[in-house]
């Protein structure tokens, strides 16, 4: 007998499932999976460039040397040899962690879940960036966290606003449990937290005895410039917990991430992980170890950097060519995403419905907020599609946006609804999350 009827089970659900809701937006996103749709919505790395020979060699070696071990359970905290690989990745970003403080997890997403499970009672405050990683939203919701989002600009989270918020919460007698941040090439905004703000954020954490969860999946995917130090290295692992992942530098399919946290916290996380899944896949851990022993993991990351830099440039060019002057977007120095903001009269969830008719998709900005903001913004991914698709996808979205801008102009009796921004506007003056589009174009064309 099939048993799909919800009412049979509705009375049995925990109250927390009430907030684990499906939504119109999620229903729309389900349509984006169709093959004819150019999806700039996903956050997918391009795994097609990974050499199948390497995969075969790694798998063959495990079969020959460690078959029984690969098929067996492992320790909850992860294999020592995997932690050595993690140490290499962290060292590449200027960090050193005691292997005792590291737990190997089933992807970075599990870290989010475990940290929230460890720290949050229903109603507790979590501080996040606004916009925040859309995948963190269901995690925070499922633990019934009260999420307070801090505005961002071109230098990342406004730490001054964070301090104001912390003061306000303190006056209300509320103490946030942790600050969740993606400081480098933030998902979805694409911006990077500046060094002064990194320093200040770590100071604030120390002053207020506040934990910070630094989520750093994209740090090594840097397309230009020098990396600022991670929060973890500035703090020395006292208040900053670190989330790393192999998803963007190797493969999301192997589901391997890690968390570094102070020993008392890591102990609790360990217990939480034991309950969740006993241990991370031993097979995946050994594959990573075998792969790292070939000694070429940095070469592969370098090849991804080349690939994604070129795709990012293609997307920036396409945006300049096809989006109307009223649109603005970030110019990320790394990572996978561009955040575009349209005039406020455009609702990007409605726009997605329209764009899907033209077989193109993006993530509506509301997915990155828990408070209904972000409705005129969108997240665009440039890592998962080839350049021809990026150009065509952006062209299609631009056409729909242009159509809506023109319609709005007609409706309000203003053919040109917003005055173009002054070309002389300095990015540092702008101090906004988005760069002026006309300035961008003028710069590329060598003049206005």
């Amino acid at each position: 007998m099939k048993a799909r009827d919800l009412e049979r089970y509705a009375g049995l659900f925990a109250s927390r499932t009430r907030v684990m809701k499906s939504s119109a937006m999620r229903d729309l996103m389900a349509i984006t999976a169709r093959p004819e749709v150019i999806s700039l919505a996903g956050g997918l790395p391009d795994t097609s460039t990974f050499p199948p020979d390497t995969f075969a060699a790694v798998a063959t070696r495990i079969a020959a040397e460690e078959c029984a071990k690969a098929l067996q359970y492992g320790p909850t905290e992860g294999l020592g040899e995997t932690k050595e690989c993690i140490a290499q990745v962290m060292e590449a970003e200027g960090m050193r962690a005691d292997p005792q403080d590291v737990i190997v997890t089933t992807g970075g997403q599990q870290v989010l879940d475990l940290v929230t499970k460890t720290l949050i009672d229903p109603g507790d405050v979590v501080i996040a960036e606004g916009p925040t990683y859309p995948g963190a939203v269901p995690v925070f919701s499922s633990y019934q966290a009260d999420v307070v989002q801090i505005d961002m600009d071109a230098e990342g989270m406004r730490v001054d606003l964070l301090e104001e918020t912390l003061d306000r919460l303190e006056r209300d007698g509320r103490r946030p449990k942790f600050v969740y941040t993606v400081p480098s090439f933030q998902n979805p905004a694409g911006v990077t937290l500046s060094l002064p703000r990194r320093r200040r954020l770590v100071e604030v954490a120390h002053e207020r005895e506040l934990l910070v969860l630094e989520d750093n999946p994209y740090g090594l995917l840097r397309y230009e410039g020098e990396p600022p130090p991670p929060l973890y290295s500035l703090d020395g692992g006292v208040y900053v917990m670190y989330l790393g992942t192999f998803s963007k530098i190797l493969s999301p399919g192997i589901r391997l991430g890690w968390v570094v946290a102070p020993p008392p916290v890591i102990e609790k996380i360990n217990l939480g992980k034991q309950a969740a899944d006993l241990c991370t896949s031993t097979l995946s851990q050994l594959m990573v170890r075998a792969y790292f022993e070939q000694g070429r993991w940095r070469d592969y990351v370098d090849s991804l950097v080349e690939l994604y830099r070129s795709r990012r440039d293609t997307m920036l060019d396409a945006l300049a060519d096809h989006f109307p002057p009223q649109a603005e977007w970030t110019r990320p120095g790394g990572g996978l995403f561009i955040w575009a903001t349209l005039p406020e009269f455009i609702d990007t969830t409605d726009l997605l419905a329209r764009a899907l008719r033209d077989n193109v998709a993006f993530v509506p900005g509301e997915a990155a907020f828990l408070d209904g903001r972000g409705r005129s913004s969108m997240r665009l991914n440039f890592s998962g599609c080839d350049e021809q698709q990026i150009r065509e996808g952006v062209r299609r979205i631009g056409e729909v946006v242009t159509e809506q801008v023109a319609l709005y102009g007609t409706l309000t009796g203003r053919e040109r609804p917003a005055a173009p921004q002054a070309d002389s506007r300095e990015p540092e003056l702008a101090r906004v999350l988005r760069l002026p589009r006309r300035a961008e174009r003028a710069r590329r064309a060598g003049g206005p």
């Binding site: 009430r18 119109a24 349509i31 009796g413």
Partner: protein
């Protein structure tokens, strides 16, 4: 028993809702002893129907293509009897503008409205008429796409300044939109089965200020009261009104008519749905349940009605 193809999914924005409706229908049909072939509607629809050779098609699609007469037309061409209303009634019900004009002509109450196509703005300077509309409709007004079955794209305009953005949103879904006076009051749904009105359902949003698309399909966001707690005379009028709409549009088998009851006790027809949802939180199954008709029996009756209409 019969071979039944359940048509579900498709490309509509209501795809997920349709998949949920379809899954429940499949289960019910199997429990009733029918042979079920589920078809997620796509480019190969005709080929799959020819291969399946069903005695009947159960149309569990929502939104454009499934609910607007398109699929019904194809089923007519293939000579496959199907559940629910025929092509013409689907066309009338899917198009809110057409529905409302028919209601006006028949003297049935519906909130005052004006409808526009995108070309009216683009080619005929209709924006110049917006001021006149704003004078004639009291705010807030509701702006809706003409042919979207769900609440997607429906926006409130509290002042004249909200109207242009609301129109832009509505035009994301359809090339025609309508601006309608907002009736403040209670949100009622009257479902009909075999031309008989079922108990009235009232949708009471829990904390939203607008009964939105998301709340409609979620347990926990909206409370459904069935039968709605209404004076007997109001219930009777609502059911009678729904029946007149059903007949006026030429609907067949089953349907749902959405009404508003204002504080003065006046009823207004908002729209009719030729293929209302059949999910766990949908109004038609709840209304049937309140009338003592379980889901399996409901699905069975829908199928019988389809067979009864089929040419011998």
């Amino acid at each position: 028993m019969s071979r039944v193809s359940v048509l579900k999914g498709g490309r509509s924005l209501e795809r997920q809702v349709s998949l949920r409706s379809g899954a429940r229908v499949e289960d019910a049909l199997e429990r009733l002893g029918h042979q079920v072939v589920a078809i997620d509607v796509d480019l190969d629809l005709i080929a799959r129907l020819r291969e399946a050779r069903p005695d009947l098609a159960f149309v569990a699609l929502h939104g454009p293509d499934g609910e607007d007469g398109t699929v019904q037309e194809l089923l007519e061409i293939l000579g496959i009897p199907y559940t629910g209303s025929g092509v013409l009634a689907c066309v009338r019900a899917m198009d809110k503008v057409l529905t409302k004009h028919l209601l006006l002509e028949a003297g049935l109450p519906t909130p005052e409205f004006f409808a526009f196509s995108q070309t009216a703005f683009r080619d005929l300077g209709a924006a110049d008429a917006l001021g006149a509309i704003e004078e004639r409709l009291d705010f807030p007004i509701v702006v809706k796409p003409a042919g979207q079955g769900s609440a997607l794209g429906i926006k409130f305009a509290r002042t004249a300044a909200d109207v242009p953005a609301a129109l832009v949103a509505a035009f994301s879904y359809d090339s025609r939109v309508l601006l309608e006076r907002h009736v403040e009051g209670r949100d009622l749904g009257v479902s009909l089965l075999a031309g008989e009105p079922l108990p009235v359902v009232e949708a009471v949003p829990r904390d939203e200020d607008f009964y939105d698309f998301e709340a409609r399909y979620e347990i926990g966001r909206t409370d459904f009261l069935c039968p709605a707690e209404l004076p007997a005379a109001v219930t009777e009028r609502a059911q009678e009104l729904a029946l007149r709409v059903f007949e006026l549009l030429g609907l067949y088998g089953f349907a749902r008519v959405d009404l508003m009851l204002d504080s003065a006790g006046e009823l207004y027809v908002l729209e009719a749905n030729s293929i209302p949802g059949l999910t766990d939180t949908s109004l038609l199954p709840q209304a049937a349940e309140a009338a003592g008709i379980g889901f399996d029996e409901l699905v069975g009756r829908m199928l019988e009605l389809a067979a009864a209409r089929a040419p011998a």
